[in-house]
């Protein structure tokens, strides 16, 4: 029982860190460019499909992962140059519409190229086993541990980037006061491009890493987009720390909460009802957490501005 919870905590950590990869890019774009990008999840989907395609072509996981990251970042740069740079000056409504349009286009294009069937990415053979954490009691898949390690490393890297480098200083300045940053002479356009490329690369990393665990399918972007949005709103738009805390919170509620709710509900209902109700309540409680946070702190837990 307690091992079950430990396992779910690890799963929550893994899910939360993957959410963080998306939320980090999203919160920077939101915060620095004041741009609402509904299509962020599409970059995640594109990254996963590219990884799957490269994997099928070359048969090796890590090179496929790297290629997917590079190409998705390139797509991000192109989109920023062609579209987002202009959207940035427009109203939120225009941004909602344009990025909604991008989702439709991305989904349809992927469907045209890859078909409607989900693709599979093979797990690297060396990581397909499980690691014994507590002898005979708790095994945890090596691949999931890898995801956790990569996620933690990226979080550390982003922390160093944002807090220890000049670019990071510009990003923080941009998130807290974009006009002032431009006045201070920071070349804001290359910064936007960089932020976008970074966001896209992180999306691809998450998409490719999750590929072997989930089916790579059209629409996968939307299913992770909503939690990612909830994360950055809970954490405070523009705040990297908020994105990390929010991701872990949401990850934990979604997995550990699911388990606890399901177990708790079994005492009230029959187990079939409990196992449908539990996950629902967990998903809902993430939304409700966001609502509660916004009600009491309308700019999130770690507001970047003001």
């Amino acid at each position: 029982m307690s091992y079950l919870i430990i396992e779910q905590v690890l799963n929550g950590l893994q899910y939360g860190l993957m959410l963080f990869l998306l939320a980090a890019g999203l919160t920077l774009v939101f915060g620095i460019m004041d741009l609402i990008n509904l299509a962020h999840g599409s970059l995640y989907m594109i990254g996963a499909f590219l990884a799957a395609a490269f994997f099928q072509a070359i048969g090796s996981f890590f090179p496929a992962l790297l290629l997917a990251i590079v190409f998705t970042a390139l797509i991000g740069i192109i989109l920023e140059r062609l579209l987002y740079r202009h959207l940035q000056r427009m109203s939120h409504l225009s941004q909602v519409l344009a990025t909604f349009a991008l989702i439709l286009i991305a989904n349809e294009t992927i469907k045209m190229i890859f078909g409607a069937q989900p693709l599979m990415i093979g797990m690297p053979a060396s990581l397909s086993g499980a690691i014994e954490i507590v002898p005979d009691e708790l095994y945890y898949p090596s691949y999931r541990l890898l995801i956790i390690v990569v996620g933690l490393m990226v979080a550390l890297g982003l922390y160093l980037l944002v807090n220890r480098t000049r670019i990071g200083m510009w990003m923080r300045a941009g998130a807290s006061n974009p006009d002032m940053t431009a006045v201070m002479g920071v070349r804001i356009k290359p910064l936007f491009t960089f932020v976008f490329a970074l966001g896209a690369a992180l999306c691809a990393l998450a998409g490719a890493l999750l590929g072997p665990l989930l089916a790579v399918s059209v629409g996968m972007g939307e299913s992770i987009l909503i939690p990612a949005f909830e994360v950055i709103v809970i954490g405070g738009i523009g705040s990297m720390r908020g994105a990390l805390v929010g991701s872990l919170l949401v990850g934990m509620i979604d997995t550990v909460g699911k388990l606890i709710l399901t177990l708790g509900l079994r005492t009230l209902f029959d187990s079939a009802t409990a196992s449908t109700l539990g996950p629902t309540l967990a998903s809902m409680s993430v939304s409700l957490l966001m609502v509660a946070v916004l009600y009491f702190r309308p700019t999130g837990l770690f507001p970047a501005r003001g």
């Binding site: 939101f30 004041d34 609402i36 509904l38 579209l83 202009h86 959207l87 427009m90 109203s91 939120h92 409504l93 225009s94 909602v96 519409l97 344009a98 909604f100 349009a101 991008l102 989702i103 439709l104 286009i105 989904n107 349809e108 294009t109 469907k111 045209m112 939307e222 909503i226 949005f229 909830e230 709103v233 738009i237 009802t273 449908t276 109700l277 996950p279 629902t280 998903s283 809902m284 939304s287 409700l288 966001m290 609502v291 916004l294 009600y295 309308p298 700019t299």
Partner: protein, 350 residues
């Protein structure tokens, strides 16, 4: 009264009067909508009668959203929730043997409006991007509810054995259902007209234009916005109730944020803040979808490209799309009577 002699820099169209229909336009629209299904039935085209019903239903939903989004400036990415609530109320009642429209429709409207009121109380405290996200999150809660509760049929949704019953009417035929929708939506349109043309409507538009000043001159801004949001939700609930009847089923797809996005698309296509915006938008959208889907399975690609083009081509943002088009076509035809234009002697004072 003579028409007001406007000066060169004066304009007949302000946000208060733009897009308000005159009586003749309204009569023309009503007559056209009444004749359309008769012609289609005569030609034995039941399909087009049903398409007409769907257009009217989405016109109502989009017009309801237009009240919040176009008139009130509240960018809600969660109106699918109200549409879904309306639909599920009808479906759940039907599955429990209650088919009376007298019961289910008011309940659908009431529950949707009450939900909108609650959502509004929380959401309207936030601004900008946060408002968009929080309405989205709320709608998501209802989506999760629908897909996981067995009472709501999970992923498959609910089927209705037959349409709601209205005393003296048999809604099973395409034609009679169309007229039922036309009558119901028509009532809603009259209500919406009275809303936007009333002092309440003017206050809502003015809040969109300058919320700070509206507060400073003594308007209870929060309550006014909340009222508009709740009314918008309630009318969307009515559309949902009709929608469940149209297809005699309701699925969780109605509650997705994709659906919320499509409602916004309809409002923008038709003209946000214009009275006929919802009707025009729903008609344009559904007819385009029908026609283009006949030729390609990639309708969403076409729609996406079209939307991108619209956003990039609208010079002052999509809110002004309608004005922009009107100018292109050659002068906006203002049907609006200008209730607040000064009478002639002040106008001539210059």
């Amino acid at each position: 009264m003579n028409p007001t002699p406007f000066n060169a820099s004066a304009s007949a169209q302000t946000p208060f009067t733009q897009g308000l229909p005159g009586p003749w336009t309204a009569i023309f629209v009503a007559v056209a909508l009444a004749i359309y299904p008769l012609v289609m039935s005569a030609l034995d085209q039941a399909f087009y009668v049903n398409l007409g019903s769907r257009v009217l239903i989405f016109a109502l939903a989009a017009s309801a959203l237009n009240l919040a989004l176009g008139y009130g400036g509240m960018i809600s990415l969660g109106h699918a929730a109200f549409l879904g609530i309306g639909g599920y109320v009808v479906a759940v009642l039907a599955n429990n043997g209650v088919y009376s429209a007298w019961l289910s429709f008011p309940l659908a409207i009431g529950l949707a409006a009450a939900t909108a009121l609650l959502i509004g109380v929380v959401s309207l405290r936030t601004k900008g991007v946060y408002f968009i996200m929080i309405t989205l999150a709320f709608a998501q809660v209802f989506y999760y509810l629908a897909i996981s509760l067995p009472e709501f049929g999970g992923d498959d949704g609910l089927q209705l054995a037959r349409r709601s019953s209205v005393p003296g009417l048999d809604l099973s035929s395409a034609l009679s259902f169309y007229f039922f929708v036309l009558f119901t939506a028509g009532l809603a349109f009259v209500l919406l007209y009275r809303l936007v043309a009333s002092r309440f409507g003017r206050a809502i538009v003015a809040i969109r234009e300058n919320e700070r000043r509206m507060a400073a001159i003594g308007y209870p801004v929060f309550r006014l916005k909340l009222a508009a949001f709740a009314l918008s939700g309630g009318l969307c609930g009515l559309a949902g109730a009709l929608l469940a009847n149209a297809s005699t089923s309701i699925t969780p797809h109605t509650l997705t944020w994709h659906q919320s996005g499509l409602l916004i698309v309809m409002v923008i296509l038709g003209g946000s803040g214009y009275f006929w915006g919802g009707l025009t938008g729903a008609a344009v959208y559904l007819i385009l979808e029908e026609t283009i889907s006949d030729h390609t399975e990639h309708w969403n690609l076409v729609l996406g490209a079209l939307l991108l083009f619209i956003v990039m081509a609208a010079p002052n943002g999509v809110m002004s799309l309608r004005q922009h088009l009107a100018k292109r076509v050659g002068g906006a035809r203002g049907h609006g009577t200008a209730p607040l234009a000064a009478t002639s002697h002040e106008g001539e004072a210059k």
